[in-house]
């Protein structure tokens, strides 16, 4: 049996809307606001019902243009690696600092996407990030926290 993925997504959205609606009803409002014409949970409750309505309709109504995705032709491996690198980048940026983590993130991403021109990879990571940092920090005066550069005395 072929499962229509759009319908599965609609079903997931329907379930999400149920959860959203339940959470909306649980919002604690002030006692004097409980019977007010509009309080903090009024709008979310309407949104929950709107979610149920549209995803419910999508589930029930026929799907005139079924989208078929050739999963075999998709590049899951490289996409997953990029996402993992981005997560590692996010996890280390505060501890190690912007310069090193960003440079390694770029260098690693170039490598995993199949690039092997080492000099170009280097130029488009470390010096590029340094120049960009100078633009943000030095020219536009956007503060960038960097414990590593502070540790080696490059940044104040």
């Amino acid at each position: 049996m072929n499962i229509n993925t759009t319908k599965v997504i609609s079903l997931l959205f329907f379930i999400f809307s149920v959860f959203y609606l339940y959470t909306a009803y649980q919002i604690q409002v002030f006692a004097f606001d409980e019977n007010a014409p509009f309080n903090a949970k009024t709008f979310p409750i309407y949104l929950g019902y709107a979610g149920l309505f549209f995803s419910g309709l999508k589930l029930i109504l026929p799907d005139p243009e079924t989208i078929k995705v050739e999963h075999k032709s998709l590049e899951y491996k490289k996409t997953a690696i990029l996402i993992i690198i981005a997560i590692i980048y996010g996890a280390t940026i505060l501890k190690i600092g912007y310069f090193l983590t960003t440079s390694f993130f770029l260098f690693g991403s170039y490598y995993f996407l199949g690039e092997r021109r080492w000099i170009l990879m280097f130029l488009l990571s470390f010096p590029f990030v340094a120049a960009f940092m100078y633009l943000l920090h030095g020219v536009l005066e956007i503060y960038l926290r960097d414990p590593f550069l502070q540790f080696i005395g490059v940044m104040g």
């Binding site: 993925t5 759009t6 997504i9 609609s10 809307s17 909306a24 919002i27 604690q28 409002v29 002030f30 007010a36 014409p37 509009f38 903090a40 009024t42 709008f43 979310p44 949104l47 709107a50 979610g51 549209f54 999508k58 109504l61 026929p62 799907d63 005139p64 243009e65 995705v69 032709s73 998709l74 590049e75 899951y76 490289k78 996409t79 990029l82 996402i83 981005a86 980048y89 996010g90 996890a91 940026i93 505060l94 960003t102 993130f105 770029l106 991403s109 170039y110 996407l113 199949g114 690039e115 170009l120 488009l124 960009f132 943000l136 020219v139 536009l140 005066e141 956007i142 960038l144 926290r145």
Partner: protein
């Protein structure tokens, strides 16, 4: 108004702002030429850079990016038959055949001059219309605003969904749900934060834009094994030919440009419609208006067929600023991103913008025109060189897009949680894109969520909880009836298509 124009000119013509328009046009052209990466991605990537500027300069930069991206899209339509943005699809109908006949330079020149003329006309319309509309919109009340926002969201869902209206409406609801996370604006009660302090202030607009456009676009390119730069590499190899337009062709353009600019501007003003519909309508209208001889040339390299959509799509870009500047309600995904950026600067667009911040209001309008001039002077002779810059391999382009996205969030909050949240939203958005769930309705809904709740709150409180405010005023009723018509029509069409 003269005083306003002078204020706008004095702001827009500073050395810094002219430089910003140039940078914006140049950067926008590069991104616009890459199929798949449109104006919204280009503007999203520019947001972190604008943090360091004042609101007028930031918005001038983004406006330059917008026009540059639309022009860049036309270039790839003409040279490669690969439109960079949907608004330039109609350009390829006659632009590409002209390029194949060895007249690529001429086709680019016609496109550039038509865009310039379309932009000029619409800047003039905007100049006169925006202040008057601002005055009219002062009479709008909360129920009208609430109804207008529903209409805007429904319209963008209808126009951007490629026949998948319900999917687009699901994205609208998802955008509104994301906007409801965080403290309630009136009571300060936290909603949907699940005791996570990082969510107390809600989800940042920049985060959602970066995740759903820039980052998810990059992931989609990798996932689908697309190479947006492959097409660009061919551009530099193409023989462009002369960029001169002869007298006969100029005559044809003189007739086409004024009428296409009017239709483009009017369509652009409508919520949700935008450059794509404007360019198709202008193309169709032009084919009906020309004589039989010229009609035969349509689709085979007609000057009118190229000039009409190019004029209309640029005029529509300016038109889409009208609802944003006068009502504070963006008419398209791109202007929604700009609205979000303005709110980030602490500027609330709307009827009072041109009274409270005239320098922003007028400098946007004036910088549009300056942007057009710069596009014409810089881009036309520089296209072959810009195309060479585009030959950056995908392996470098994608990490750089990811880098700009993550940096944008990092400099805003210095918080790991926001980076994780962005990655999470980007992964979900990438998956949804695979199945044709459109993202512009989500962004527009996210931007409008807070305003919509505020106006519904006021309306309900004023009517003491009664829903009569929906039909008490004729204007509110008319807007809601239009909305209902769009919804019912699209659901009906779903049945008809199946049967």
């Amino acid at each position: 108004m003269i005083e306003g124009i002078l204020i706008g000119l004095s702001t827009a013509l500073t050395l810094q702002n002219i430089f910003m328009v140039m940078i914006g046009c140049f950067f926008g052209t590069i991104i616009g030429m890459l199929p798949g990466l449109g104006p919204m991605t280009a503007i999203a990537l520019m947001i972190p850079i604008t943090y360091g500027f004042d609101p007028a300069t930031g918005l001038i930069l983004m406006a330059g990016v917008y026009y540059g991206a639309v022009f860049g899209g036309s270039t790839s339509s003409i040279l490669l038959n690969a439109p960079g943005v949907p608004g330039t699809v109609a350009t390829s109908f006659d632009g590409y055949p002209m390029a194949q006949q060895g007249k690529a330079g001429k086709a680019l020149a016609i496109a550039a001059w038509s865009s310039f003329a379309g932009g000029t006309f619409s800047a003039i319309y905007l100049l006169f219309l925006a202040p008057s509309l601002s005055k009219v919109s002062l009479s709008f009340r909360s129920p009208d605003y609430f109804a207008l926002m529903i209409l805007g969201l429904t319209a963008i869902a209808a126009f951007s969904s490629k026949g998948q209206f319900l999917k687009a409406m699901m994205m609208v609801v998802l955008g509104l749900m994301l906007a409801s996370v965080g403290q309630d604006s009136l009571s300060d009660i936290t909603r949907f934060t699940f005791d996570n302090m990082n969510l107390t202030d809600g989800i940042s607009f920049v985060l959602v834009v970066m995740a759903t456009f820039a980052m998810s676009e990059a992931l989609t390119i990798i996932l689908k094994r697309n190479d947006p730069t492959a097409a660009a590499k061919q551009v530099s190899l193409t023989e462009l030919g002369s960029i001169k337009i002869d007298k006969e062709d100029r005559k044809k353009m003189y007739k086409t440009i004024p009428r296409s600019s009017v239709i483009g501007f009017l369509i652009g003003v409508l919520p949700g419609a935008g450059a794509t519909i404007a360019s198709f309508l202008a193309y169709g209208m032009e084919r009906n208006l020309v004589n039989d001889d010229e009609k035969q040339k349509f689709g085979k390299g007609s000057v009118n067929g190229l000039s009409a959509p190019e004029t209309a799509n640029n005029a529509a870009c300016s038109g889409s600023f009208v609802p944003m500047l006068t009502l504070g309600i963006p008419g398209s995904g791109t202007t929604a991103v700009m609205l979000g950026a303005l709110l980030g600067f602490g500027v609330q667009p709307g009827p009072r913008l041109y009274m409270t911040n005239p320098e922003i209001f007028w400098s946007i309008i004036m910088s549009m025109y300056i942007g057009m001039v710069i596009l014409l002077i810089l881009n036309l002779p520089l296209i072959p060189y810009i195309a060479r810059i585009l030959a950056v391999p995908k392996n470098y382009l994608i990490p750089l897009i990811l880098f700009f996205s993550i940096t944008g969030i990092y400099v805003m909050s210095f918080n790991n949680f926001d980076i994780y949240l962005m990655i999470g939203i980007a992964v979900v958005a990438t998956f949804l894109r695979l199945y044709d769930f459109p993202m512009p309705p989500l962004i527009l809904a996210f931007v409008l969520g807070g305003l919509m709740e505020e106006n519904l709150r006021r309306s309900l409180l004023l009517s003491n909880g009664s829903w009569e405010f929906l039909w008490d005023r004729t204007l509110t009723l008319c807007i809601l009836l239009t909305t209902a018509f769009i919804v019912i029509w699209h659901i009906y069409k779903t049945f008809v298509k199946k049967n």
